[in-house]
Amino acid sequence: MKLSVKGLRRIFTHGEESRRALVDITLSIESGEFVAIMGRSGSGKTTLLNAIGGLDTRFEGEVRLGEKSLREMSEAELASFRHRHLGFVFQSYNLLNHLTVLENVLLPSYFGPLRDGGDPLEVATGLLDRVGLGDRLRSRPTELSGGQRQRVAIARALLCRPSVLLCDEPTGSLDRATGLTILQLFEELNREDEITVVLVTHEPHVAAVARRKIRLDEGRIASDQEQEPRWPVEGEGAPPEAEGTP
């Protein structure tokens, strides 16, 4: 699914003060790309991701996902579109601690059927197997390490087989080694499942694994370039086996 943004502006107002978070952003992301959006804190990365994901529609300009313009969709259509086509991964995982790992992954299925009509339980257990948590279905999120929680969040994002995975600082709460395993998972999903991955980060070594890097500075695109993915060399990070336990 092609993603295109044209003349995107977003202004936050607080009382009489207003701040321009995004200024005339125009870009396009082809289906199957692995894009990193990076920039300093406050540069507008998350705001751009929210606009692309339809989580925030109070912007000017146009955001199109495939043939559909987000602004032309009703609230219910937008919710349904998010459910069917988009997966979200957040820095703080956003898991519900009163639910089990399996129930967390199944959560999107409460709001509609899976895109391919599959059995949610079967798909969820398969995804948890894939992210290495097949033996933790009944665990609560509080019993898991940070990396394991983020993998649960990724499994949840993948349940409806989205076309686009939108990740907001997905390694921000993880140590470098654990973050690396998560990035490897994104790379695998992008390569094997052809899912478009849009990853927001402020960490250069995370942005380095993407094939395209868009740098934001004060709400504007400072640079947009394709790159050869560069994975940390030996010694830069701990091996995946070293991932922490709770």
């Binding site: 998350t46 929210n50 994901g53 989580l55 925030d56 609230e75 219910a76 919710a79 349904s80 998010r82 459910h83 069917r84 979200f88 957040f90 956003n94 519900l96 009163h98 639910l99 129930e103 959560l107 999107p108 299925s109 409460y110 709001f111 509609g112 949840r156 409806c160």
Partner: protein, 487 residues
């Protein structure tokens, strides 16, 4: 969102916030308990007053002309109460049955009670007659409620009842007897009438249960500690009195005698208690009264009735029927019906007033629910934002909050109903043990109907919905981007 998934989400939320929900439901429980208690009390009191004291399902009509002293009523336009009038009344919409009633029109007295009281007592005898088929169900004595005095044609003794023989004119009449051979000649039910020296059947008598209520609640209570015979008066039950026999002296009372100074002594036997019986007096089969009136007051005294008892098809039909009887037939309702209407209105107003208190409590409870649910929505803002990001629509989130309110309402309603019933049971026990007997003292002060349980649950759910409405709207308006970023 599918119903099964919706139920699961609501269930998860309720389990997680059970403390919050319990606190939210306290006000509703109190409100529903109060509502149940007062509705049940109003219904119970209404039932006692309108079904036992006034019997509102029945209307007694009188001819206004006859009431004014003009028997036959020609001058005031009334046509008198006769069988034709009974037929006309039966054709009115809402009328289930109509029974003519006739009063004794000459003085009489009753004497007896030695077996129960230790000494015979004498009282004025006020009586009326009703058709036997009016009271069939309430008769509990073997004698039944039949007109044994009605002429029965015969050709042989076998055609007559036990104790009677076929007379010279082909009509059954009592066999000759003496008190000494009463059982042998007259059989089990008939007795030997000493004045006539003939076997006769006792006159079946019905009494209003109100007479017994007034005796037990007032006379017995007032006299039980007194000296003399009053102090020995027992508390009476219907079972004790069924089959009780006493003498009736027609044509003579403590106040005066019949015009021709004739006296006729008969035996009466109490065969049952009925709301349709005369309020203060004794009711017998209509045939006896017609014959006695003709005999003591003249031939025309048996031609017209004094009143007609009209039974409505339901309590709801009473008002319309009363209007037709008055406006279309020119009849007058007895004072009792007007008293019943006033009493019913008063009870209704009191019930509404008390229920208003319950509704105020429920309104306060709804405010409490608004507060609790608002707090919960604020606490769960990030969770709601996540759900929105994962595909939940605004109405899904609103439905989730409303679903939680529904469960709280059903829970609080059920507990409130239980609490209300429990308090009612306690009040009944106190009422039974701490309050002495009085006329028409009911076994229970409360009357609960299935619709009241529906009302309790319905009101609880509706007030929870009202309370949760604003928080649900707020929850639906949560912006996912703002909620997820903690803004």
């Amino acid at each position: 969102m599918k119903l099964g998934k919706y139920r699961a989400l609501v269930g998860q939320s309720l389990r997680r916030h059970r403390g919050h929900f319990m606190v939210s439901s306290v006000g509703v429980i109190i409100g529903v308990a109060t509502l149940m208690l007062f509705t049940g009390l109003g219904s119970g009191v209404r039932q006692t007053v309108l079904e036992d004291v006034f019997v509102i399902g029945q209307l007694e009509v009188v001819d206004p002309a006859a009431r004014a002293g003009l028997r036959g009523g020609g001058l005031l336009g009334g046509a008198g109460l006769d069988d034709r009038r009974v037929e006309e009344i039966l054709e009115l919409p809402g009328a289930a049955a109509a029974f003519p009633k006739m009063k004794l029109t000459f003085p009489s007295r009753a004497s007896g009670g030695g077996g129960l009281l230790g000494r015979d007592l004498g009282i004025e005898f006020i009586g009326d007659g009703v058709p036997p088929n009016l009271i069939e169900e309430e008769v509990k004595d073997a004698l039944g409620f039949e007109d044994y005095g009605a002429p029965v044609e015969c050709s042989a003794d076998e055609d007559c009842r036990e104790g009677l023989r076929c007379g010279d004119e082909g009509i059954c009449e009592g066999k000759s007897c003496r008190p000494a051979n009463e059982d042998e000649v007259c059989g089990e039910i008939a007795y030997c009438n000493r004045d006539r020296g003939q076997c006769a059947y006792p006159i079946p008598i019905l009494v209003s249960p109100q007479v017994l209520e007034i005796y037990n609640g007032s006379v017995h209570t007032a006299l039980r500690d007194s000296q003399g015979i009053g102090g020995r008066l027992p508390r009476l039950t219907e079972e004790m009195l069924i089959g009780f026999e006493f003498d009736i002296i027609f044509g003579e009372s403590f106040m005066g005698r019949a015009a021709d100074r004739r006296v006729q002594r008969e035996r009466g036997r109490l065969v049952g208690f009925s709301d349709r019986a005369i309020q203060m007096g004794a009711t017998m089969p209509l045939g006896y009264v017609i014959r006695l009136n003709e005999e003591f007051s003249g031939e025309s005294a048996g031609d017209t009735y004094h009143s007609i008892l009209v039974e409505a098809e339901s309590n709801d039909a009473v008002a319309g029927l009363a209007q037709l009887l008055q406006e279309e037939m020119g009849l007058e309702l007895s004072d009792r019906h007007q008293q019943a209407e006033r009493a019913g209105l008063l009870i209704l107003l009191l019930t509404l007033l008390f229920n208003l208190i319950a509704l105020v409590i429920l309104a306060v409870a709804a405010l409490n629910i608004t507060h609790s649910f608002s707090m919960m929505v604020m606490e769960r803002r990030q969770e709601i934002g996540l759900m929105r990001a994962l595909g939940a629509k605004r109405r899904d989130i609103q439905a989730l909050v409303v679903g939680e309110a529904t469960v709280v309402g059903l829970f609080a309603g059920a507990v409130g109903i239980g609490v209300g019933l429990g308090i009612a049971w306690g009040v009944d026990r106190l009422f039974d043990t701490q309050v002495g007997h009085f006329p028409f003292k009911p076994e229970t002060l409360f009357a609960f109907s299935p619709w009241m349980f529906g009302l309790g649950l319905g009101v609880a759910v509706v007030f929870c919905w009202i309370g949760a409405l604003l928080p649900a709207l707020r929850a639906g308006r949560v912006e996912p981007s703002a909620a997820l970023s903690g803004r």
